[in-house]
């Protein structure tokens, strides 16, 4: 259980850091995880 707490601690810190970095760079984590068909505005739609 101590391991679980460590894993969750690491996971929580990663999530917070990820959101902070994404906000700083103007990224959308949501768009990056959505399938391209649902999200025509992802960077992958360059060079239309």
């Amino acid at each position: 259980m101590r391991i679980l707490r460590s894993y969750y601690l690491i996971w929580g810190l990663l999530v917070c850091l990820g959101v902070a970095a994404a906000n700083h760079r103007g990224w959308s984590l949501l768009y990056s995880v959505l399938p391209r068909a649902w999200n025509p505005s992802t960077p992958g739609s360059y060079h239309k």
Partner: protein, 634 residues
Amino acid sequence: MKFQSSVAVFAVCPFCRSTVVRKDVAIEQLGTMAELPPDLSPLQLGTRGTFDGQAFTLVGRVRLRWEEGSWTEWCAWFGDQRYGWVAEAQGCFIVSFEHAPPDDLPARDDLAPGSSLTFADRPYRVVDIKESTCVGSEGELPFVAAAGRKGVTVDCMGDGGAFAGVEYSDAGARLYLGRYARLEELEATDLRAVPGWTPGVETDARRGVTGACSCPACGAPMELRAAGLTMSAVCPSCGALLDTSDAQLRLIERAQNQQRIEPLLPLGSRGTLFGTPWEVIGFLERKDAYVAWYEYLLFNPWRGFRWLVNYQGHWSFVTTLLERPDTGPPDKDLRRVSFHGETYRLFARGGAIVTYVLGEFYWQTRVGETTYLGDYICPPRVLSSERYPELLEETWSQGEYLEPRAVEGAFAPSQPLPERTGVYLNQTNPFAESWRRVRWLAPLFTLLLLVIELVSAGHAARRPVLAGEFVYRAADTNRMVITEPFEIPGGRQALRFTSHAPVNNNWIALGLDLVNTETQQTRSLEQGIELYSGYDDGPWTEGRSTVNAILPAVEPGRYVLRIEPTADPGVVEMPYSVAVTRDVPVWSNFWLGLGALLVYPVYAWFRYISFESTRWAESDYSPLGQSKESEDES
């Protein structure tokens, strides 16, 4: 004869069993004392120990009997004109000293279980009242303890294991104050070698110690496993109930017709639990209004008695408490009990009846015996109160859940123990630990995430870089619009596109291409604007006339926006506007992060609460809003 203690006035000769009374320097012989029944007590005359830092030696003992059992009082000589008593009953010890009774001591008939008393500024509660008779004594004693001496004993418990005993006899009332103690706490030495337990003293010797060991009802040979410390035994051959406090195994009642139940742990089997070897000496089945369960009485001569309770493959290791839990004010509907800093919640209470008995017990249990039970849980522990209305007695015990494999590993039964089914009242919730940990971390991370998002949003510039108004005309052959160039300074950032059109039961869609004028890189998105309304059993609307979209991670540079509108075929002409704002906060990051943070806590909570729901479904006092009672009603 030589008296060891100066306060002793009565003694039994260890050689001829003559009883003598000391009067000044003279000694007067009273008669002879019968041999005390053999027992498996680890104490003996000459045993030394310490209590609260003071050394003592056991110099005498009195065996007392009451309606349903017997116990031993050892006279402990502390030196310097001071003696105390070590009472030995049900495998535990009470060390007490005589005090002058208060002037306002209630008469015996004014006391009942539950009565409150105060001795030496300390509150006590009467737990047990019984008539006692001296059945024998040995060694030196500070009073004449002739066989047949009668009295009424009132046992009281105070906080923290405090004990008070009042003995009413023809000679008046005697008050004893002390507390409960375990043998290991007394640091006893010069203990007796216990046959079958002490290395080198073989089990076979136990037969000699316990004397006659054949059933008076059927003649079958019997082995008493805790002789002198138990009050009854059930013959394994004929099922007759025997009085083991009587050296001749007096027959209490013959067997009633009952179906034989084979215990999962046979009588006589030994196993080590919590570092102590235990022997199974008794087995009984109990039933309440709903279910039946099994209780195994365990014995160790130095640790006393414990119980193993078995219900549908679940096991609990139960110890009788030496101190009463904090139950709050008396006469209150008891729903919570505090003990050693933990709060126990009422799970079940009601009557239970003994339906099958086998082996030895420290009271005269028999089929049909009823008790009133209360179970209070704080998994993996359970506190149980047990009240015997006819015996004016209430006892508390604490159980600890045992994994079935721990029982199997300890006792190595010939047949594998049955798999457990369902959730037991004090079974450890396997998800409690993970839920307990993440339920504190998850809010902390949520707060941290919110702070991060608010700081990011606070630093976002939210600068408009384009705002244009255009008109869609169906008749136009080329409806594409290319805006004036605009600049996106700084680093990568998110853009928000806000489009508006006065749609009314129609739609317009804008294909937006953000074109970097230097690199010709294009990023596209489409915004559909639609608004419908009507009346079906009331007014309704659907859609919006203004829509927003975020384009993330746009590189800095010079851009134009290429707009290609399409619209409902019924639209001939419609104005629309497009605005672009740079460096806007991306709240979807927060919501996605929140979901990532909460997915495991939600899972852990769901598993935890599912387990608890199953547990409390068996209770009439569920804190979760569901109960056996409500199910039964439905």
